[in-house]
């Protein structure tokens, strides 16, 4: 049953729509009462995937969407019920729908070639599954690059019991990045000139500015360090504006998506990043946000002024505007080449002041896994104990990347600040070095206590992952028995993206979990870019140094791994099946940054006996002191 206030809102929206004449919902402007995305609710849904013309930013374009809308309709489920979704494909190519974050049986997960064969042209496929959870989620195509041009939509699952989050009205905000060109063509362009979509490179003018500010020598040294690595400190996003037009619910800033409120109301914003390639910085200038949910699961309320949302992440926030003024909801792309701005105002049709784009951030040597002081001298001089990373976990250190380093100076003499409580077996595949791997982060560090890239100096409160705590106690607090280490690898110049240096097309064996086991997945980002990493069918319990014993670790379906970051997530492998595991940046996935995690049924599972072709290393029994102050020194 709908809450009364939800019901009122939808009735109001519907009445306005009915009066808007023959125009389809997507073509109506907010002044005609289109306050959101068309909603469907119940237990049975008929969804038709097709292509149709639409207008974005005043320009005609073709979209692939569901039931004639892009974004696709809002699907509203109720926790504990069973839903049936008949998906008909009217495209000339295969399609699919993946239910992002939903704990469905794997054969209903919707990834062609992994969990089902896909939906052929003209075919209707019936998804049927129980809904054991509640919260904000979304759905999208897992076929080709359809996700880029509209084949994505929001899901809200209302809780079967009282919602711990109180609110007077709610809006769904689906963020997107639109290209008016063919996505396959865009991918091909990236393969040919990987930096071609970046219009924010450092110029000769920037060099002169730096030289006058910091001195010629310093500016030259900086250019020479980046030049020696053949990497760009402005490599924040592979594709930015003007190639992309940024969208909120399918609307650009000019199209001004409109939300209304009465002063003093608690307004719940359900923010979903459904973009293909764009992480967004989200803020409402002058209005603090209280984060109440992340990736569909409630978190302890946390007030911030801004947060960065990775592709495929969701955040629910409460805002309580007290004055009858129009507020801007700003979704700024991580590279600050563009933004989408919507209006939250006391009356429909208002237009909030659009803030100027902020200066483009520049990456530092820290983002390359190098410390500035250690770069450009031809050798590693890491004789700086005090600067050693806070949470260096020796049980999981990447020894393959450590040749040429002084172990003692890296902090082996220091006690592990988090104690030796995790005595698990670590499984780490050697990274396949070759043309696809340009760099291995020499000193990956934890960056959970940092806000998103570019948000360190914005002058107000920004979210860090380390601040998040789940509202509910973690359902599984067992210590993992195994750790699997995966490197995120790339060669930006050739636009090659992979895990452990192996593209998906080269994979010969899936990563294997065993039903019932608690496993730690450690991700090391050897690239210069943040990657939103998503594992289907399971939640990540984000291991926050110092909060492991809290029992309230945030649980996420998608986690951003920052450049040169090393982070760990603990996973309860409960649902048997083959599950896709990939970077949620669409073209990174298309280039090969994908794998499959097979959760093997317990009767077939042989924990510890199966090495998966990985090197088995029990670091707890290894004597690090003997490993080589002599042997490993340059």
């Amino acid at each position: 049953m709908l809450h009364r206030r939800h019901f009122l809102q939808y009735v109001a929206g519907g009445a306005a729509l009915a009066g808007a004449g023959a125009l389809p919902a997507w073509a109506r402007s907010s002044s005609e009462g289109n306050l959101g995305i068309p909603a469907l609710q119940g237990n049975r849904f008929d969804l038709t995937v097709g292509t149709f013309p639409m207008r974005i930013n005043g320009r005609a374009t073709d979209a692939i969407g569901v039931n004639g809308t892009a974004p696709a309709p809002l699907l509203r489920f109720r926790e504990g019920e069973e839903v049936t979704l008949n998906v008909t494909n009217t495209l000339e190519t295969d399609t699919s729908i993946h239910w992002h974050g939903l704990l469905v049986p794997f054969q209903m997960d919707g990834v062609p070639g992994v969990s089902f064969p896909g939906i052929r042209p003209g075919e209707t496929f019936t998804y049927k599954y129980a809904v054991p959870q509640n919260g904000t989620y979304w759905y999208h195509s897992h076929s080709g690059l359809q996700e880029q041009i509209g084949h994505y939509g929001p899901i809200i699952i209302d809780p079967k019991d009282a919602d711990p989050v109180a609110y007077d009205r709610e809006y769904v905000l689906v963020l997107g990045d639109w290209t008016f060109g063919d996505p396959d063509c865009l991918f091909a362009k990236l393969k040919k000139h990987s930096d071609g979509q970046n219009f924010q490179q450092r110029t000769v003018g920037d060099f002169l500015k730096d030289a006058s500010a910091d001195g010629l020598g310093s500016a030259l040294e900086d250019r020479s360090m980046w030049g020696a690595m053949r990497m760009s400190p402005r490599d924040l996003a592979d594709v930015g504006a003007p190639t992309y037009t940024y969208l909120i619910n399918g609307r650009s800033t000019a199209d001004n998506f409109n939300m209304v409120f009465n002063p003093g109301e608690r307004v719940r914003l359900r923010i979903i990043n459904a973009a293909a390639m764009t992480l967004f910085n989200v803020r409402l200038p002058g209005l603090p946000m209280t984060i109440v949910q992340a990736d569909g699961l409630n978190v302890q309320p946390l007030e911030v002024d801004e947060f960065q949302i990775g592709v495929a992440e969701t955040y629910d926030v409460i805002v309580t505007p007290q004055v009858a003024e129009a507020f801007a909801f700003v979704a700024e792309s991580i590279d600050r080449s563009g933004q989408a701005v919507a209006t939250l105002g006391p009356r429909p049709g208002m237009r909030a002041a659009v803030p100027a784009l902020r200066p483009v951030p520049t990456l530092t040597m820290k983002d390359m896994g190098m410390d500035h002081a250690a770069m450009g001298h031809g050798e590693m001089e890491m004789d700086r104990g005090a600067d050693a990373p806070e949470a260096m976990d020796h049980s999981t250190m990447d020894h393959s990347a450590m040749a040429g380093m002084d172990h003692k100076a890296m902090g082996h003499a220091m006690p592990d600040p988090h104690g030796p409580e995790v005595q698990m077996v670590s499984v780490e595949a050697p990274v396949t070095r070759g043309p696809g791997v340009a760099n291995i982060a020499a000193m990956p560090v934890t960056r959970l206590d940092e806000p998103g890239i570019g948000l360190a100096d914005v002058g107000h409160r920004t979210l860090t992952y380390s601040q998040l705590r789940s509202l509910d106690p973690n359902p599984d607090t067992r210590t993992p028995g195994r750790e699997i280490v995966v490197h995120l690898t790339s060669n930006m110049e050739r636009y090659m993206w992979s895990f452990d240096g192996v593209k998906f097309s080269e994979v010969t064996k899936a990563i294997q979990f065993h039903e019932g086991e608690r496993v730690r997945l450690t991700l090391i980002n050897d690239t210069m870019m943040p990657h939103p990493i998503h594992l289907h069918g399971m939640f990540f319990d984000l291991v926050i140094p110092g909060a492991e014993a809290s029992g309230h670790l945030p649980r996420k379906h998608t986690v951003i791994v920052k450049p040169a970051e090393k982070l760990s997530v603990d996973i309860s492998a409960e649902h048997v099946g083959d599950w896709a595991f990939h970077c949620h940046l669409l073209y990174h996935m298309a280039a090969g940054m994908m794998q499959v995690v097979s959760v093997l049924p317990s009767e077939r599972a042989m924990p510890m006996a199966d090495h998966q072709g990985h090197e088995m290393m029990d670091h707890s029994k290894m004597n690090h002191d003997e490993m080589g102050d002599e042997g490993m020194k340059p």
């Binding site: 030049g227 020696a228 043309p435 090659m496 097309s505 083959d578 996935m589 994908m594 097979s598």
Partner: protein, 264 residues
């Protein structure tokens, strides 16, 4: 001309099988969905998802320089372009360059290369194949070279050529880009030709035979299309210069150039 086309066709037919990259081994890497869906359909979908996530191939065509050169010696139309087809590691490259003289109303230089290119490191490809000279004299060469991006962002293309007459020559090109704005780019370019021996019929002496240095300023209206203007200097050295001077020609010249750089 026909010989050149035949050689290209031969190179393609030899190269084609090498493109096949095995996407699937004998046992599938996962197969649990086979219990719910038709196993053959799943096998086909599995092959598709694997090849479309990392093994796609592209076709690339680029006119790096398509320009009019104007100097005291006369005007010429010069082209320098390439094309490739392939994946991340293996590609078939076609390169061609040449010059048409308006004064003489003839093609003075023209060559085409068909090369097998294999990525040997993150930034460099090893390239080997054949070069056929359409003008002058229809020589054929075996080619071995390396192309890629050197530290500090220098684009490098270096190749050695062994002709059917047994003459060994080499060519090294390097380019750099100064980004004046996001779309206005100043590109210095140097190309050096070397020869291991005196080749009288080509009027080329051993050693550094010629140098071509240019400075081009282009504006990328879109990344794929950029008109440019610039200056270039061409000079010959040693015995090669003597050959030219003996024929009553200048051993060096300065030119104004205007053209387009385009790719798709």
């Amino acid at each position: 001309m026909m010989r050149g086309i035949t050689l290209c066709a031969l190179a393609i037919s030899v190269a084609a099988p090498v493109f096949a990259e095995a996407a699937e081994g004998t046992s599938p890497p996962w197969s649990m969905a086979d219990d719910y869906y038709d196993a053959d359909e799943m096998a086909e979908a599995r092959h598709h998802v694997l090849t479309h996530h990392g093994a796609t191939r592209e076709v690339y065509v680029m006119a790096d320089r398509l320009e009019l050169q104007s100097s005291d010696e006369g005007d010429a139309l010069v082209w320098d372009g390439n094309a490739w087809y392939g994946g991340d590691i293996n590609k078939l490259w076609i390169k061609s360059e040449g010059a048409y003289s308006f004064d003489a109303d003839e093609i003075e230089d023209a060559e085409v290369q068909a090369l097998w290119s294999h990525a040997i490191s993150p930034y460099f490809d090893l390239q080997g194949g054949i070069r056929y000279d359409l003008e002058p004299k229809g020589r054929t060469h075996a080619v071995l070279g390396a192309q890629g991006l050197a530290p500090y962002w220098f684009e490098v293309d270096a190749a050695a050529f062994l002709s059917s007459d047994g003459d060994l020559t080499a060519r090294i090109e390097t380019e750099y880009e100064f980004r004046l704005t996001q779309r206005l780019i100043l590109q210095p370019r140097v190309e050096a030709e070397l020869s291991a021996q005196d080749i009288p019929e080509l009027e080329t002496d051993s050693g550094l035979t010629s140098l071509d240095a240019g400075l081009r300023l282009r504006y990328e209206i879109v990344r794929e299309f950029a008109p440019y203007i610039g200056v270039a200097w061409q000079g010959s050295f040693g015995g090669t210069a003597d050959y030219l001077e003996a024929a009553g020609e200048e051993s060096d010249r300065t030119m104004f150039v205007a053209g387009v750089r385009t790719w798709f």
